[in-house]
């Protein structure tokens, strides 16, 4: 099925699902796709992961009215979390709920029941020139909506469990919207899992609005099968005095492309971007991050780490823009990689564009092997080579895993990583 067919189906179904303030973006976005010759179009941003390598192939669109709830045993156990499930992109919570400070549910329902807030933010953050984003805007028919009212400190984490479960090669998409009001506090966990052996393609997009002085923690884990391809884009906008932690952990997935764009548009914002990639076999992971320092006196810290084995490929492209007005910016970026094997590859590229003069910026990238001195030290204490490797790798990963606030979720991620390393 071609993307034109997918668009036609979406155009048909969208009328009954969404109001026109959402559908009105579809045509223009699809023109962009059509006119670019997608997916063969070459974009510098996608140098090491050409769009064609992601979007070529035969995929069927998901029917938003058809899904079955998978077995709970496949999910991480986070006992105190509020849970939202999506199956093949479709949010299966069929009401908008209000719980522990969160208002949440399917975007389809929210687009009517919370019209004011959805209309205000929907497609106001996403980069419509990015082709996967444009495709999402043109054709996505489902998504998750999460909002926290001003001044509300949520008391439990909210966990979104995105499951891909299909026997056929499906193309699923979701367009998520998160709105955190002034002075609110919230923790979001997003878990992307696949319980399908079919080749699947996912193209998700999230818009995350963080109002004045809000504190938001967002942890995402990708752990799907080798035949899955997953593109995900986060567009974050931070207002004065807000702070944001983004932890992006990629364990499984045949191809994972994550775009993370943070716009610091008012002063005194604080933003941390953490990433961890554990890849082996023929996995291909590509992280593109963009931090836009558009206001003075903001700080960003970025730390991305990877452990690569076999023929895995990892790309890190970290762009930081400090605009002329963004005086007293502090922006730190670091990318550290461990190659366990000569067949694995890393492409790392910092991209700093600094137009203000009173700034503190640093960046650095390292690529190495596991420390041999440390290996021998551990072995000399009786620790087997494989356990010593595991300890060193977990030690390397811990710097990122320690940022996961929820202990149960951290345990889940650790067990996934350990299982992967042990194999």
């Amino acid at each position: 099925m071609s993307y034109k067919d997918i668009y036609d189906i979406a155009a048909n179904l969208s009328e009954s699902l969404f109001p026109c303030y959402i559908n009105c973006f579809r045509d223009k976005a699809f023109d962009k796709i059509k006119n670019s010759g997608f997916p063969d179009f070459k974009q510098e941003k996608y140098k090491y992961t050409p769009l064609a390598s992601i979007f070529e192939g035969e995929y069927l669109p998901v029917n938003p009215y058809e899904w079955k709830k998978p077995a709970e045993s496949d999910f991480p156990e986070v006992s105190d979390a509020i849970k939202i499930y999506t199956v093949n992109g479709v949010c299966i919570n069929n009401e908008i709920k209000s719980e522990s400070g969160f208002v949440y549910g399917s975007l389809v329902l929210a687009s009517r029941e919370c019209e004011e807030i959805v209309e205000k933010h929907y497609n106001h953050l996403a980069d419509n020139t990015d082709l996967p984003a444009a495709l999402n805007i043109a054709t996505a028919l489902s998504g998750v909506f999460v909002a926290v009212a001003p001044g509300v400190e949520t008391t439990r984490p909210l966990m979104i469990i995105n499951i891909v479960d299909s026997d056929s090669n499906i193309f699923s998409q979701q367009h998520n919207l998160f709105v955190f009001g002034e002075n609110s506090i919230a923790e979001i966990i997003e878990c992307n899992i696949g319980i399908s052996d079919a080749s699947t393609l996912t193209n998700n997009l999230s818009e995350i609005v963080i109002a004045q002085n809000a504190q938001v923690d967002f942890t995402r884990v990708h752990d799907k099968g080798l035949l899955s391809k997953h593109v995900s884009a986060d567009y974050i906008r931070q207002y004065e005095g807000s702070s944001f932690n983004h932890s992006n952990i990629i364990v499984g997935g045949g191809l994972v492309r994550q775009n993370t764009e943070v716009h610091l548009i008012e002063k005194h914002c604080y933003s941390n971007l953490y990433g961890l990639v554990i890849a082996d076999e023929k996995q291909h992971v590509d992280n593109y991050t963009f931090i836009d320092h558009a206001a003075p006196e903001c700080q960003s810290n970025e730390l991305y780490k990877s452990i690569l084995n076999d023929k895995a490929v990892n790309v890190f492209n970290g762009r930081i823009l400090v605009r002329p007005d963004a005086q007293k910016t502090a922006a730190y970026q670091s990318n550290k990689n461990v190659l366990l094997n000569t067949g694995a590859k890393i492409y790392t590229k910092p991209q700093l564009e600094i137009y203000a003069d009173d700034v503190k910026c640093s960046h650095g990238a390292t690529v190495g092997q596991l420390n041999e001195e440390a290996m021998f030290y551990m072995q000399s204490r009786g620790i087997s080579k494989s356990t010593a490797q595991l300890l060193l790798m977990s030690g390397f990963a811990n710097e990122i895993l320690d940022k996961i606030k929820n202990p149960e979720f951290k345990e889940f991620v650790l067990s996934r990583i350990e299982k992967k390393i042990r194999n």
Binding site: E373, Y377, M378, S380, L391
Partner: protein, 249 residues
């Protein structure tokens, strides 16, 4: 316990050990002294099984086993312990996890179940007290940011936990302050028994005041050139190593 015969070892094609002969029996304490660069740490590393050193000739027998055929971890589990001259920092790995892994591997080797958490914690506390190890260091990553003396003390703390048959202490005294030297030495003496043995690599008599050796050897240019009783260390302290230059080596 250990018998080293005509041991030759190279590093990067250069011969460092040029025919070492040394036998240590259970219950004995041997001190190895000698000028910088003479091969003391190399000998210690070869015994522990570091593979960057290539053994070109000779044998090491440890309790009837051919040590040179064993992996470093098997040697450790068989009862060999090396206190490193330069302990290694391992970021991200806590002392607790490190020691738990080591203890459990040792137990597995002996056919025992993994240690129970409560028992393990009790053991950590006891051994920390025995060796004067600050207990806050135990929750930190292995050696990371430890002071020079703290690192050395940590080596002896690990030794106390693993309770080896043969411990080789490579300049464990250097970096320790006067009080720490006494406390650590007392700890080592408490661990000493007729069933285990010690090899002390040191430059100074003061360690040997606390841990009294049965034999003192001088290693020079990859060979043991002189062996005698504990009085040799005092003699070296007085005369230095100039006399070696007059020897034909």
């Amino acid at each position: 316990m250990i018998k080293i015969t005509d041991l030759h070892a190279n590093v990067e094609g250069k011969e460092i050990l040029k025919g070492i002969n040394l036998e240590v029996r259970a219950g004995e304490i041997h001190a190895i002294m000698g000028p910088n660069g003479s091969g003391k740490s190399t000998l210690a590393s070869v015994i522990a099984g570091r593979d960057s050193f290539e053994v070109t000739q000779g044998e090491i027998e440890f309790e009837g086993k051919n040590l040179l055929e064993m992996s470093p971890e098997d040697r450790a589990n068989a009862g060999i312990f090396l206190s490193f001259q330069y302990p290694v920092e391992i970021p991200g790995v806590s002392m607790t996890n490190f020691m738990k892994a080591a203890v459990n591997e040792q137990r597995k080797y002996k056919g025992l179940e993994p240690i129970k958490p409560a028992e393990f914690l009790k053991m950590l506390r006891e051994k920390a007290a025995l060796t004067g190890m600050d207990s806050t260091l135990i929750s930190r990553p292995v050696n990371e940011g430890f002071s020079g003396g703290e690192k050395k003390r940590n080596e002896i703390f690990q030794m106390a936990i693993l309770d080896p048959k043969l411990a080789i202490l490579d300049e464990t005294d250097s970096g320790l302050d006067i009080d720490a030297l006494r406390i650590v030495s007392e700890g080592v003496n408490k661990l000493k028994s007729p069933d285990n043995a010690l090899i002390l690599v040191t430059h100074y008599q003061r360690l040997l005041d606390y841990i009294v050796p049965d034999f003192v050897h001088v290693l020079y240019k990859g060979k043991i050139v002189k062996s005698a009783g504990k009085e040799l260390a005092l003699e070296l302290e007085e005369k230095g190593y100039d006399w070696l230059k007059d020897m034909d080596i």
